[in-house]
Symmetry: D3
């Protein structure tokens, strides 16, 4: 069951506010309160659908802001979030007050297209990596969209990494430099952090891999390491820690590292550089 | 002078909230309050820089949330928003409390990279279209980011289209169908809307071009029309209305329509499908 | 269909908060949860009714805040927004939980009376100006009430002017002074602003009228000009620009300028100095 | 020392949001970041000034939203809140970034003019009633403005009545009907309400005056009673309760009741029907 | 009828946000959308129940945030707020979507347990003081919880004191020192404050009791005075003012002062140091 | 360095709003803008101080809301957060505008006293458990206060448990029942949850201890188990999982389990049932 957190709801409210805060003269001029429309959402390219509860949420919120027409918009999706839909597929059918539909259209589609774009992008890389390696998010998300983007990555077949600064311990080069050594950094973090969190160390060479193992890191992230060094690192680590690969992962680079046997690959591009899926809202009658 | 609207500020607050609302155990475990760091923002690819006031705003807000260290972060950018920076360029130098810098890093970079990505994308198409044709935004923006994305498009050399539903009149096929004719739709809109707004009509064939001209439209948008139909439309319209071209504009399609003499080209991809610019925050000493 | 924007909803929440945030000891002491009341809203003077969706919204919100009684308040207005109602007319009938009605009464009436006051004021001036000249709002509105006041002016027969700083271009004396000339100011604005916005220039003498025409202004606002100068200005402008008249417009001054043939008259007093309409909420049984 | 409560601050933020949320193309097109202006606020009619801390607050908030120019706006008022200023008087002088001043102008003036209008209206009636009778607010205020309007009434020489539903007990006809008698209503309220609040009963005839006295009301409000009935009521009450007069109080009716010796007169028109004071912001150099 | 003020609602939203803003991986991993559960709330100690409308509010809010399951949670309490429930009693029965119940459980219980704890604590002291003396709150409440805690004290048999700084006049030693004398402090306060508020003076010796009486204080608060001095103070005051006792009131001290005949006793511990009532949410079937 | 998250800041704003939203007639009546005061915070009992940055934050926020006096309040604490202070100790000294101090006093003290109370309570149990066993929070916190209460527990010598539903995986009896077995529940959770989180299983008998070990749980929580069963569980688990003890932990029960060698003890009472520390704000001169 997908939940909309308070932050996500505030984001949706901002999206509605920025589009609607000065009215909609075009629609108000032409449609009266009793006008109703029927129509469809159509996929204009192949895609993994994602975000229908958010689409619905926007429509419901606009409906609640409109007075004079109380017919709720009926909206039925033919696909589940995470399902693949071919170019041309009818994703959903709807019927409701025309004013509501026109005022909600852009904001609702912007969200659905973005989330479907992230899910589609994720699916493409997941298909390359296969089942043995987990593809994860990073914290390189768009502002206010972390929950929605994590969900889209999950729908695409990926997984969440730490959601925010408080839901994981991640020791990077700056932390190590300040602590004096990987060992001391891990020790300090372990001492302070909740016992419910694993401790992850980011390394970029084999020397640090050894140090991280020595320090008892739960997860070792190989950051931008050459392919053979990664293989050697995995050999050294074996089952003593989870191995994560990171660094400008794309469909191309995924191909190159798919043979390496690691626990997960984290990929910022999923959330900072996905293309919107192309979805069209077509009225079939007004 | 760039202004941060209340909606944008709320968006930044959401971004900070989603990342920081459960603390940062790693940083708190390792750095004490007096730790300071020096470092740089480095361009990892060619880019048009955009969003430094937002970067600064995030850092200032995190600083204000931190107690125990009152040294303000000093931050100096070497480029103006809208300036081109080469791969490897030092975009900015900073010095300040390490805890502030580490807690602000991801959120501040996410915004700077996104905005610079949009500006860079815009610049590429502007360079193709040349000075005679204006490249504009659409309402296909990411939630809560309309102001920031419009600004990024401006920094890239593009222009704003109508900011929201209330800052322009745009008559589309559904409005026309409901009104019965382009003429009646324009008349109704003109009668109701503020006189400070122009009336734009979206058309997809030459017949509707004629009708829009007849109806006295101020702007005629040619939506997804073939190249020769666009040329004919321009010929018919001449100076009687501004001509706008729309429909899945990309760097490729921009090449194809650059010879057509229109007032502006609107492009949703600038704001829904730009890649984040690659910027790295490197500490040179802690 | 009237829409309540997020800003308006926040305003209503503030109104409820300031009245109800410390409880209501009187009502809580005397009525139990099952108490219901029936009653009417009565016009105590002639008026143009406006704001019934806001009245309903306040009542619904208070209802949602009350637990223990789930009978929704039924509320039926006998007049449409914008309709004229005579002194003594029953504007609406209601039935519902007494506690809800008493806690909502003042806040709901304050809004309804203000909006009806603005609509009534507008209608009076619209009746003087007649159909050929449009009466418009200004940005001289009360804080947070711009949407509600614009709507009230529309219900009174008036029109919106630019809704906010972003939904129109308005060049005033300070802009002209800074730009060096009307021509340069118009040119700069035209170059920067979205093509969906008209460019308006405020002038106070005939010399500037000529300059604005020369610069290609879409709208020329004659600010506080003597009656004969306005007539001469209109003669010079003819159809080349829309003409707007401004400056301390009242019922008295409307009489004096009604013969001048202009496109619109903007009037700040509608929104900053209207009297509340007098409406009484009478319980006919508890 | 005037305090700005969180609700008032939110109201100011709404006012800024509704005006500035879609940018200001005119100002941004013409002024660069370094432009500064000097100017004055001028009274265009006689008035009691009120709201300078709110004016300053708006300017400061806009300044904080602007990047690129860090010269704070200097602003010096020549009058205290509550002081009388003649038509033509220079109320304040200012110097600061032109963009800040132009973006803040309308919102800041709207608040200052409204508050000064309320203070001026109040002063006029206070001057009629004289020192022996207190003029008070009601809860008939504009949404979100209760604090600002109460303050304006105080600056005009009036007093606060109960600020909200929780800061006083006020028994009206509906409460009495439900309780069965004034005596029982007072008893129930006294039993439930905090002992820090006085109990006020609204009456409209002499019989109820007697009942309220009998019930031990602390304050008796004579609502819309004829002049001689009010005099008789005062005679009966003497010092046993505070006497308040209410009912469509205006400058005219104030004249008529000024000879009656009561504790206070409450007047809704102060806050729902005051005219904005006319204040002009004039730039003397850019 | 219990009302939820906007501040309380915001507090509930914060509570939900802090618990749910990064998802719930455990529940999402294990339960699908159609899973439903039945169960009970059980009292694990004797208690006065309080806060069922808040419990319900949290559940309803979580339900509204969940998509995929629209069966509303049914929830029936077997006790009224303010009723005594023995250890082991079934306080409520519920049935609904498992995901909703598990995500709401902790936040809803935290509120119900706190409020019931305050009510239980209050009842214990009320039982000692008996009916002749009113037990009241203070402003020593937890942040954002004033409304909920006042309500819990009422359910326990206590009363509200002034709700906030604006709903009463309370003159303390600092005010007296600044004014120069109790007499002048009372006079200044009386002159400025709304006539709907009583004036209370805090004193700590008999000399000041006399001065407060002389000044015409409505309420005299004896702060931390020895038992015999309190008795003497009461004798001197008689019916000329209400007498309030204050100062680290506990169950023990309540025993000691129960024989003194005063109007009320205010007790900060009710709201700053109550123990949570122990309530368990048990699922009887999934 | 302590950080104030957006949620905590909103909580502080609610606390200020609920106390100050209707003004402060007492203080406004008696003190003029130039009045300043000097004074101290005094410990009235032994305590562990906690929350000085929050105290300062409240004072700063009230200062920012006050106009007319721009002398910032100076405030110097003599103890660090987490330090022990004896009854009678001067915790801090301050000097500033009297109006600011009086309006901030109650809200600032309520927070400081609560946080110090939690820290003091924690320290008492930590002293019993000794260094080998970690004392942790639970999610049984007061609404909106999770960050502040976690910080207070840390200052008392305790640790954070999972901050919210998203920062840990915790499998309870309901999850196990739904999944069919501990093994399947752990497997499902492990598959779905981020790899940065440990998986914890709550058990109440030895059979389930074995099952949890078998399933590979990272943490096993012994819930309300008898002392000897806990000892046996620890023997079986050894180093294969972290052991946590839970269940109505108090100072008394801490004594009883201190000899058992476990990783941590979680204790809800720290955050739901601590007594406020007694701190007095004394003015030494006005």
């Amino acid at each position: 069951m997908q939940t909309i957190s308070p932050i996500t709801e505030q984001l949706i409210d901002l999206a509605i506010a920025e589009d609607l805060c000065a009215g909609d003269f075009t629609t108000d001029a032409i449609f009266d309160d009793s006008a109703c429309s029927r129509g469809r959402l159509i996929a204009k390219k192949d895609m993994v659908l994602c975000g229908q509860h958010i689409f619905r949420c926007v429509v419901d919120k606009i409906q609640a802001r409109c007075f004079g027409n109380f017919t709720p918009v009926s909206l039925h999706f033919s696909f589940q979030d995470g399902q693949f839909a071919q170019n041309g597929a009818t994703l959903a059918e709807f019927f409701g007050a025309t004013q509501v539909l026109l005022k909600a259209e852009r904001t609702a589609l912007n969200l659905l297209q973005h989330m479907s774009g992230v899910a589609t992008h994720t699916r493409a890389i997941v298909n390359i990596l296969g089942k043995k390696t987990r593809l994860t998010t990073t914290r390189k998300t768009l502002p206010g969209m972390r929950e929605l983007q994590h969900y889209a990555v999950q729908c695409g077949g990926g997984h969440s990494h730490r959601f925010n600064l408080g839901s994981g311990v991640m020791i990077k080069d700056n932390h190590i430099a300040a602590a004096g050594s990987i060992e001391r950094a891990v020790k300090l973090a372990r001492k302070f952090a909740p016992h419910t969190l694993r401790v992850e160390v980011e390394v970029s060479n084999l020397h640090d891999v050894d140090a991280a193992l020595q320090a008892g890191a739960d997860i070792i992230m190989l950051d931008n390491m050459p392919s053979d060094a990664m293989a050697e690192a995995c050999r050294r680590i074996q089952k003593r820690a989870l191995v994560e690969i990171s660094g400008n992962m794309t469909i191309q680079t995924a191909e190159q590292i798919r043979h390496i046997n690691v626990y997960c690959v984290s990929c910022g591009a999923l959330t900072h550089s996905s293309h919107a899926a192309d979805i069209s809202m077509q009225f079939t009658g007004i």
